[in-house]
Structure formats: structure tokens, C-alpha cells
Amino acid sequence: MSEEEWLRQDRLPHIFCAGCGNGTVINCTLSAVEQIGWKKQDTIFVSGIGCSSRAPGYISTDSLHTTHGRALAFATGIKLANPGLNVVVFTGDGDLAAIGGNHFIHACRRNIDITVVCMNNMIYGMTGGQGSPTTPLGGLSTTTPYGSKEPAFDLCGLASAAGANYVARWTSYHVRELTRSILTGLETPGFSFIESLVQCPTNYGRRNRFKQVTDQIEYFRSHTILVEKAVRMKEKGEEVPADMILSGEFVRRNRPALGVRP
């Protein structure tokens, strides 16, 4: 089988804007699912509301498109009702961190055996570009026309502190690494959280000096730094530039998990 067979051919091309990174993350996830060799009938994709949450609609397995922010609650229900199913959640930054924030920390705390792929586009894309909890400091959006004055939410830090078993962050430029991390997440028993920064050319890029889609990808390429390297720099007493995006694997541990297949 190939990734192409996991897609619902009749639904393509999808409705994401030209150059939207969500499509890349779908590719990476399907590639990882393909590598781990799951069967279509035992795999289920769950999502909430938002641009990213349209993703399961293009995948030819069972899927749930649930209410805003509640994807994790539905996924917990599925996993507890039938631990034999493999559950993957697609979610966005607003869906996960703002509206569904409480579900997120408690899913981490319970360490339920699901994999969450968060496509973080740093803005509310579907509703017209309002600032989200992950809009970086100084980022322009329709609700922060003079630049965001609030510090952004570090979702990986939150997941690590709340008790997830596997936490990683990449961007949509790092397709290989992202695929590898999603694969590790799928293999890990317990809650795995993979955050991927994605470009949003229509709402974020257009307002933040990224004229072309490729400009934002170039930015991701030049402004990411591996966690290990950041730690080394700190040990040497060097300053890690504030606008650098920390990427890599943050946590890999073995806390007792809920809902693991007996």
C-alpha cells in the first residue's frame, strides 16, 4: 500500500489555501502510519474545528470531526471504549491550546495512549486571522494590529510538564524529521504530542512580511535550532537568540499509560 491509498481521491484537491502547510503534515502523518503498518479498519483520525481539523476528511479511514476543542475528549472516549483502535488526533493551535486547553492538560496527565499531531499556524486561520495563544511576540493579526504584546504559549513545555510520554516539535520544512517523530509517537505507548509549525500564507504570512509561501519556509529553515544545540550553547554561557524556534525531541519517557491494548 502507499500513502496515496490512504487519501480519499474523490475529495482532492483539498480546500487548504495554496501553500498551506497542513497538507505537508498530512503527508508526513500518512507516511508514518504507512511505515508502522496499521490497517485502515483499526485506525481512526479525530479532529476538532479549524483549518487543520479538516484533515481527517481527506483520509479514507473512519474519522470524527468533532466540536471545537473537544477532539481529545472524543479521542479519549474512543480509546477507552475500544483499546484495540489506533487513534490519531489532528488539531490546531487554537483548537488545542485555547478552546481545548483543559482537555489537553488532562489528556497529558492521564497519559492516554493516543498520538496528537498539532499543526500550529500561529493564528486563527479559518475565522479570518485573529491572534491565537501561540501568535509570537510582535506577530501581526487582525486582533493584534500593532503586534502581539503577549508571550506565546509553549505547547511542548506544557505537554512535558503535564506528563506526556513523548513530546517533539518540528516545522513543515523538516519533513523527514517530522515523519520520524510521528512514527516514534505512534510507537510510544501513552500520550504522544508532536507539534509542527506550519506556514499560513493567507492569514499569517501575508500580514507578517512573508510575501511568498517560500519565504516563510525559508524562515523556518533558518530560525530553528535543535534542543541539544541550545542546551550546549547555554552550557557554554552563550545566549540563544530569542526568536529561535526550539525543535527536536523534548521528552521520551515511560510513565504508566491509560488505554494501552492489554
Binding site: 482532492l12 495554496a18 501553500g19 502547510g21 505537508t24 503527508n27 507516511s31 515523519t179
Partner: protein, 90 residues
């Protein structure tokens, strides 16, 4: 194997032009029927995947396919060239 861009899916974001180590994709110039400026392929037979995929039995490189948000890039089997006899009637 032959590299191809599915014109019905491509939305012309030019991400593929960034990642190919051989710079096979070039930003296009003319809009197609759907109004999308699809990238042009510059000597696609250089692609590592086109040349060696059958030999290794797996996808090599494949960066363009992975990063393409619209699942527009694929490889198709080339049909072997069969010489045809043409009967000419006088």
C-alpha cells in the same frame, strides 16, 4: 519512472522548487486552465527517484513529494517503447 505534477491538484505554491537537490522544479511562467502557475520540470530524468527507484525497490529522496501540500507530485511507470510496424498502403 517518470516524474509528473498533477495539474488538477497543484496550486502553484513553489515549495517544490526549494527542496529538490537537483533543482528540477523551476517556477512556471504560464497559468494553466485553472489559473494556476504550475512549476516547470527541468530535465526530470535526473531525479534520483526516477533513476534508481526500481533498482532499490523503495522511494529514494522523495522530498518534493513529501513537502508538496497538495499531493500533486508522483512517479508513474514508463511504458516500454515498443517499435510498431507501420504498413504503408500505396
Amino acid at each position: 519512472m517518470r516524474l509528473q505534477i498533477d495539474e488538477r491538484r497543484c496550486k502553484g505554491c513553489n515549495l517544490c522548487t526549494l527542496v529538490c537537490p537537483y533543482r528540477i522544479f523551476k517556477p512556471g511562467k504560464r497559468a494553466n486552465l485553472r489559473g494556476v502557475i504550475v512549476p516547470e520540470l527541468d530535465r526530470p530524468e535526473r531525479c534520483a527517484n526516477c533513476r534508481l527507484r526500481d533498482l532499490y525497490g523503495r522511494t529514494l529522496c522523495g522530498m518534493c513529494q513529501m513537502i508538496c501540500p497538495d499531493q500533486a507530485i508522483s512517479w508513474v511507470k514508463e511504458e516500454e517503447h515498443v517499435p510498431k510496424k507501420v504498413a504503408i498502403e500505396y
